[in-house]
Structure formats: C-alpha cells, structure tokens
C-alpha cells in the first residue's frame, strides 16, 4: 500500500553565500533556520520521504547558489529532491535537474504562461512537474467561482503569485484542474490563511482539491503539531503533508511525527 509522505520544506534565502533556510509567518516576518544542505541531510537521516527547496529570493542571479545547494545535497541525500522558485523556462529547469533535482515546482511563471507546465512535462515527464498553488480564502461570493463550505462560512480560493505579494483573480480550484490537464504531476497546495500560523491545515481547501484531481496533492500551510498531519490524512485525500517551522526549530522530529501517525493508523515509511 502506498504510504503517505512527510516532506520538510526549506525556504532558501540565496542572497548570502551558500544560502540560508528561513521561514516566514503568513508569508511575512522572516526567521533564520539553518544552512540548506546541512538541514536537508539532517532531515534525510531523520526519515524525510522527500525534500523541497524553495528559493524565496527567486532571482536569476541566485540560480548558481541554488544549483550548488542541490549538487551538494544530492551527494548525500537519497530521497527525491524538489526545487521551486523563479523557474521560468525549460532551460532554467534543466540547470536545476542537471544539478540533481528530481522535480521542479512552478507557480508564478506557470500562472503567467500555463504552457510552461506542458513544456517541462514533455521533456522531463509529468512526474517531474509540481504545480505550486498559494491559495487564499475569499468570502465575497462571485459568480463562476468554485464555492466551498467551511466552518468559517462559504468562500472561494484565489491564487496568489510572487510569493504571496500579489493576487491573480484566478480561482485556485479551477487552476488546479487546469494544471493537471496541462501535465502537472503533483500539486503543492499552500493555504495562505494558515501558513506559519500553527493552526492546522486548511481542511476544506485540501479536501476540495484532492477530490477534484487524480494527481497527488501535497497539503501545506499551518501545521503546528502532529495531530494536524493526522487530521489532513484522515479527512482528505492528500498524499503528503509538507511542513517547515515545526521541524526547523526542533519542536518535532520527523521520525517522531511518523511514529505518531503510524500509531494512529496512517500508513508511513518508518
């Protein structure tokens, strides 16, 4: 039986030599967490099923730093590595794949030019393309939106880009469906309302998207304790849960979280 996955996410500021891992709260206040390849190695030893690096500086000049982070990490980490942030073309994706990445994640560039998904998928396969969606609840119910019931009221979800700094007007659920059709192999679904809050995943959002598509959905944003991971696996069809803060600052070890989940009936790799 296929196991659910736990994926630590390393938000990388590449504006310093060698880069550093940071973490924001609701896409703002930034806190320092460690050196990217060191942290990745620690998480690998600790049972991470996969590792995601997000370049939050996302500027082309920093690409060399990300390439060296991936090269160094892939020498000693033998689980899948995904890389996202600022990749705008197949050529830019190639640099990252050649460095040792198994998957690349696209967000802003795919919203601006959806064909990018197909272009990368045609060359590297669907499994190599993650569409990252940063979704925010909107309670102004507009016509033509995918409306979801939540305990806080009925809402739709708007896609954000540029790292949460701008909004697109695009319906996140419709975009998820579209991205799957274009060839994305996986969806990294982040709730902007929950990210960094420690309040738990946005269950209605994760449930809606994971029922709507056939490709795997990675739930992200808001995990503060292992119970939140259990909740997302029990109440939605999410294939994986992504977390940053709870692992970075030593609150929880990945292995402990996985053991807790197994004790509660979730199939995991221990």
């Amino acid at each position: 039986m296929l196991a659910k996955r736990i994926i630590p996410c390393l938000d990388c500021d590449l504006g310093v030599p060698g880069g550093r891992v940071v973490k924001g709260i609701e896409f703002k206040q930034i806190r320092y967490a460690g050196i990217p390849w060191e942290l990745a190695g620690k998480y690998y030893e600790d049972g991470a099923d996969e590792i995601v690096f997000l370049d939050i500086t996302a500027s082309h000049e920093r690409r060399d730093t990300m390439v060296s982070v991936i090269k160094k990490t892939s020498e000693s980490v033998f689980v899948p590595l995904a890389v996202g942030g600022g990749i705008k073309s197949v050529e830019e994706a190639r640099e990252v794949f050649n460095a040792g990445a198994d998957k690349i994640s696209v967000n802003t560039s795919a919203l601006k030019r959806p064909e990018l998904i197909s272009e990368i998928a045609d060359y590297y396969g669907n499994q190599a393309v993650i569409i990252a969606i940063d979704a925010k609840r909107r309670y102004n119910l507009e016509k033509g939106r995918e409306i979801i019931e939540t305990p806080e009221g009925r809402c739709w979800f708007e896609c954000s880009f540029y790292g949460g700094r701008e909004f697109t007007g695009i319906d996140a659920l419709a975009w998820a469906k579209n991205a799957e059709r274009l060839g994305a192999g996986e969806i990294l679904l982040t709730s902007m309302d929950r990210d960094g809050t420690y309040d738990g995943f946005d269950i209605p959002l994760t449930d809606a998207v994971s029922r709507m598509v056939r490709i795997p959905v990675i739930a992200s944003g808001g995990v503060g304790k292992p119970e939140h991971m259990l909740e997302v696996f029990q109440k939605t069809n999410a294939s994986a849960a992504l977390a940053a803060s709870i692992f970075h600052y030593g609150e929880w070890r990945i292995q402990d979280v996985k053991e807790y989940l197994v004790e509660n009936g979730v199939h995991m790799r221990l």
Partner: protein, 200 residues
C-alpha cells in the same frame, strides 16, 4: 567500472551519486562503444516510453552484447519498461523485447502517477535483494507497469490497485520499477548488492 548509459534524457546525477556512495566507480557513458569495457551496466530512464526508445535505440545492439556476455545489468524505472516488447504509453514504439509481455496503464481507480513509497512483496530470493525483507519500502514514480508473460521473471511486486511488477530478474538482468537511488538506505543496499555482483 560501472557504466551508466546516458542516452540524453533526464537526471543521471542521482544514480551517479548513489553508486559513488556505495563505493562503486561509475562512469557516465554517452557512446555505445563505452559499454564494451564495463563490469556492470545501469540503464536509467525517465519520461515517456516512446521518446526513451527513440534515444536508446542506438545502444540496442551493444546492450544486447552486454547481456549475452553475462555482464550484470540493472534497469531502473523506464529502464525496466524498455526491456518489454511494447507499451500502451507509446503504441507505435517498439521496446527492446528481451522480456515477453507488455507495459500497461495503471488501473483507473488510483491516483496517477503512482508516486511515493510503497511496500515490496518479494516473490523470489535474488542476490540483489540481499538485506531487503518483505514489506520494505521503496520510492516509485510511474503511470504504466510491466506485465511479463512468464511470471517467473518477477522478483518482487507492490500493491497499487493491482499487483504491480516492482522488480524482474532473469540471468544477469535485473530491473526495478522503483528508484533505488531515491529509496534511502534500502535502495542503497540494492545498489551495493548490484556492485558486488559485478565483482564476482
């Protein structure tokens, strides 16, 4: 020397790094002539069956020679699928055809691709599975799976909506649907076993 066949698709760094980790001396081989001196040959694979065969075809005869010579060979992912005659993914393409049977789409009632860690169910004891036990988990990423006519070539399966061929073994030829280079310590163990088989 262990040759990693580079036919121009995908990321070879992972398998290269993993072989280095288990103390092998891998070499990325871009020309078919480079296979002649190899003690072992790894055929990695990503992307679609058709494109893979298109790129791999110029290595077809040299790979067949390697197989005839009894040199250990390891196919990974699409590197397993290309051993078969044909695939539903690219009906017009012809595979190497070394194993009778075909490659078919995963069932309709499961998420596709099959992506993540799944348990191995061992069907026959082979040297490459030394140190691996029933139920150990490996990393899979694929949308099609192999159906050999001769079921005795199947060394291991995994359960994903159906019994999915996870590993085949026949003489000097072994191939896995999962990625040993992405499967943590257990995956490295399989690679280590492969490297050991090249030194016999």
């Amino acid at each position: 020397m262990i040759a990693i066949v580079d036919y121009g698709l995908g990321n070879l760094r992972s398998i290269y790094n993993a072989l280095v980790r288990v103390n092998a001396a891998p070499e990325i081989v871009r020309e078919p002539e480079g296979l002649a001196e190899a003690d072992g040959v790894v055929v990695p694979g990503v992307g679609a069956f058709g494109r893979c065969m298109e790129k791999l075809s110029r290595f077809g005869d040299p790979l067949y020679d390697v197989r005839k010579a009894g040199t250990p060979m390891l196919g990974i992912c699409i590197g397993l699928q290309v051993l078969f005659e044909k695939s539903q993914e690219s009906p017009e393409a012809r595979g190497l055809g070394w194993i009778s049977g075909q490659v078919v789409r995963l069932p309709e009632d499961v998420n596709i691709p099959h992506m993540g860690w799944n348990n191995l169910s061992i069907k026959k004891p082979v040297d490459l599975l030394d140190g691996v036990v029933d139920g150990d988990m490996f990393y899979f990423v694929h949308s099609y799976y192999c159906l050999p006519i001769d079921r005795s070539v199947i060394a291991a399966t995994t359960d994903y909506g159906t019994d999915v061929t996870a590993m085949i073994s026949k003489d000097n030829l072994t191939a896995t649907q999962f990625h040993p280079e992405k499967s943590g310590q257990k995956g490295l163990r399989i690679l280590e076993n492969f490297v050991r088989s090249t030194r016999c």
